[in-house]
Symmetry: C2
């Protein structure tokens, strides 16, 4: 096991009715910027609960944060921060809203061109305190310090990470997810599943406990995910999914072990170029990466197959075939196609994605840092 | 799943050589009280590493914190805190040293008779900041807000909990555990195992993910525990055990689900009366509690048996028999007797423990709050 430093300071307020408690988590004299998306929180009652909880507080609003939030669309929020002396950011929504709010919070207190935090790795030297009311279990952004931000002008989607961007608190009320469209539910399950696999499907490195914790999350997502689609008003199912998605990327399971993230790097480029939903890009790329890396990942693929899918094939090659096939079948069972062709994307994409990876300086990817952009292109050709 | 609020702010510094980084975690001008036990940290090099890391700092020392630390033996530390204007407490040792340091830290900033924090539930209103260098994986005290303190005068062992008593940081260096006597290693494994079971073996309550996480810890302890005894210099084994013991009682797996703790309540009284090691008291009491509560806990006992011990008996009563027997056999395999007779304790203990539970006002125990002291006595008679 590798050395690690781990701290996750986010306070989780989990369960029915917890939105009413956010007033206790935000200083009484705070000047709040509420950051939100397209308006679904108006329809499902979440905004009403937030407004009631913050009655009498100073609250300004910034609406319209879109999936894969574009840096140019976020920057106008900085004028509100400045003009209204905002000193607390409250994200109400899913991963994109939270990520956008993190960019706003960091850019408001870091004296650099905001895009340089993404493109040049400029260090976040300050950030407004941030709180979250989560409405979509998927990205884990509600209790980590990372954010994925897009740039439509340059055709990029990049990630920044700062310990200053951990939310102070996150409300996870499973009832807020009852009204989600099935596509968003499916995407959330697939997103969390791949987050776990990026931290788990590498090579044995002495992380026996981290492996078991990862498998606990995978088994939960595999069992509860389909139930959320077939029985959308089931509180217990929604609760377990919401908690699982959060723990899948809150730092816990990745401590002390190698991590991959190749699927995310390639997937982000597919999203930036073709607008694929984030989770769908991952569902397309992951099986191809696993097939291309089946030798390097053999031991963990066999363990994953045995412990999560119950595969007991004595022929190792066949067991790995079945494991990869079942992984893709799991995504398909959620209604998520796992081939580029299903999204109208052909082989013309390969050189384009390779070029974009090079432009994003993803020159060495994977747990062994041995995957070049050209090798990634070869992998992607397995997903046509 | 029940509603919950969860936050664990302790920063974990895990791995070889991490002791040298404690200087970065303690304010440069802090006046430190180093709290320690009997002196094993002098022999295994831990004190030397701590001293080197804190060279040039103001460090006073308080030695002699014993297993099941006695309140009267801890109070002299408060004079040092006052006379030396101590403003940071550093615990270097195992769970007893950490628990003692928590009592010192809380008592130094809470204006009540210190024992009333335990005996009357007086609220901790302030506490000195606390850091930990852990040398014995077992109690999880290094990343929670709880402490068990004894009172030899009254023959009690009680627990207090305060969010102010979470350590700011905890160093977990598996190499510090290489030189532990086998008895302490065994005790630590059993202690962590029972901590998980107290939060897991109750009744189904919609906590599918919490169950899976608990099983991840149980499987890890079951697999790695015996290896730590047979191959004591194996770093990976020690690392997984140390991390597992910490996660077994850092709050994570107990969120949203009912908890039992009957075994601990009875076990604490056995320790207070007869001086049994904490873990050994648990190993004696737990199988008896499970036998007595086999009907109320049937569903979880069957799940535990199937998922952790691989028991697939179609007869439920036999499966539960086997599960309880294998639990006791696991403790015995670690060299821990699971019968009172093995410790020279006979049936005269039963009325004594019942009276002590009544004196400690443990009038309703268990996940359903339906176990009286007399019922606990009946349970204990199954452990003779």
């Amino acid at each position: 096991m590798r050395n690690f430093n781990f701290q996750n300071p986010t306070r989780i307020l989990f369960g029915r009715g917890q939105i009413e408690n956010i007033a206790d988590e935000i200083p009484a004299d705070a000047r709040i910027l509420l950051v939100a998306g397209s308006g679904s929180i108006r329809k499902n009652g979440v905004l009403e609960q937030v407004t009631k909880a913050l009655a009498g507080r100073t609250v300004h609003e910034f609406w319209g944060v879109s999936p894969n939030p574009d840096i140019a669309a976020l920057l106008p929020a900085l004028s509100i921060v400045r003009d209204q002396s905002i000193d607390f950011v409250l994200a109400v929504g899913g991963g994109s809203v939270i990520d956008g709010a993190k960019l706003i919070a960091a850019a408001a207190r870091t004296e650099v061109d905001p895009w340089s935090i993404l493109a040049k790795g400029a260090r976040v030297t300050g950030a407004l305190p941030l709180g979250v009311v989560l409405t979509l279990p998927a990205t884990g952004s509600e209790s980590n310090g990372a954010a994925a931000i897009s740039n439509k002008e340059t055709g990029q989607k990049l990630v920044f990470v700062s310990p200053l961007c951990f939310p102070r608190f996150a409300v996870l009320d499973p009832e807020t997810t009852f009204s989600l469209p099935p596509r968003q539910v499916s995407n959330g399950i697939a997103d969390a599943f791949v987050h776990v696999l990026e931290q788990y499907l590498t090579y044995p490195a002495g992380g026996a406990l981290s492996d078991r914790l990862a498998e606990a999350l995978l088994l939960t997502l595999k069992e509860q995910g389909p139930l959320a689609l077939s029985d959308p008003q089931n509180y217990e199912v929604r609760a377990n999914l919401m908690w699982a998605a959060s723990l899948s990327l809150n730092g816990l399971i990745g401590q002390g072990v190698p991590q991959d993230w190749t699927t995310h790097h390639i997937g982000h480029e597919l999203t930036a170029q073709y607008g694929l939903d984030h989770a769908r890009s991952l569902a397309v790329v992951l099986p191809a990466v696993l097939e291309a890396r089946r030798q390097q990942k053999a031991e963990k693929l066999l363990q994953f197959g045995a412990r999560v899918f119950g595969i007991r094939d004595s022929d190792q090659a066949e067991a790995i075939d079945t494991t990869i096939a079942q992984t893709a079948a799991f995504f398909e069972s959620l209604g998520i196609p796992t081939r580029l062709s299903a999204y109208g994307i052909g082989e013309e994409a390969i050189p384009l994605i390779v070029a974009k990876l090079k432009a994003s300086r993803r020159l060495r990817m994977g747990e062994r840092l041995d995957i070049t952009p050209d090798a990634a292109g070869t992998m992607l050709s397995l997903a046509l």
